[in-house]
Amino acid sequence: MTADTSSRTSPLAAWADRLAGLAPALTVVERPFLTQLTVRASDPDAVAALGAALGVAFPADPCTFTRGDGPFGDVEVLWLGPDEFLVVARSDLDPRVPVEEALRTALGSARGAVVDTSAQRTTVALAGPHVRDVLAHGCAVDLHPSAAPTGTCVQTLLARAGVILQVVDAEAGVFTVLVRSSFAEYLAAWLSDACVEYLAGVS
């Protein structure tokens, strides 16, 4: 018997039901298979050209992300370091317009790199009235809207697992967590456990 390699399985596919059971205290939805590209470039002109090709300006400030609509649809650019960015685009991009090639062309002869890292991380969307309480169980970063406004993007440890945490909407309490695929099930198990005290019917 050969392994089925024709259909892809997301890292949290087996956890969908259990994570859905955390609602309404915490809404956890996996957004699998997003297109992710790690971009390394330090030359300001090259970074501007990359932003122009993408239709979204690259974040100028540390620990922030930008979002916009361009030729590749809804795209986010996350700041990972002074010369390192993560481009996150939707999963169903038309393969005939490769975003990787477009970025590489925009980079031109400038020093840098564009690498497809889509399989490295999976994306988990978090929301709900207790999202900050649950995150505070395992993350020391201050996520109050005054300290982490909309557009904040921090790389930190969540329950000792390395994650990228995006503040999508500070007022409404909407977060996105990018976690390595191999850590995704651990994080899902931790979220389920950390959320127990906020579930309905638990006194």
């Binding site: 620990c63 370091g81 002074p82 020391a140 970063v141 930190t156 390395g162």
Partner: protein, 99 residues
């Protein structure tokens, strides 16, 4: 928990960082010309002051960038943070290093 001010990410928990030992230990100009003793001194011998100490740190769970920090080994106060490659800043009127 101790907070370490990353030059890029701001103050973060100590557990996000990785210690890199003493800063400003220059690689020998001509390593092949060193005697075994001089090489051992370069590889293994480090200062151990009681007081301000320039160290390398890496924000390994965050932006993964190396930087230098001056830490008072008596109080664990981080007195200054500066980029790797820069000289150690003048800390002014502080206690002299007691060895």
């Amino acid at each position: 928990m101790q907070l370490i001010p990353c030059p890029w990410c701001g103050p973060r928990e100590e557990t996000e960082f990785h210690y890199g030992g003493q800063a400003h230990v220059a690689y020998p100009q001509d390593p092949a010309a060193l005697t075994d003793e001089a090489w051992a001194r370069y590889v293994f011998f480090r200062d151990n002051p009681s007081g301000p100490f320039a160290e390398r740190w890496s924000h390994s769970a965050g932006c993964r960038r190396w930087f230098n920090a001056v830490r008072d080994t008596r109080t664990y106060d981080l007195l200054a943070v500066y980029d790797a490659g820069e000289p150690m800043p003048d800390l002014g009127e502080r206690d002299e290093v007691v060895s």
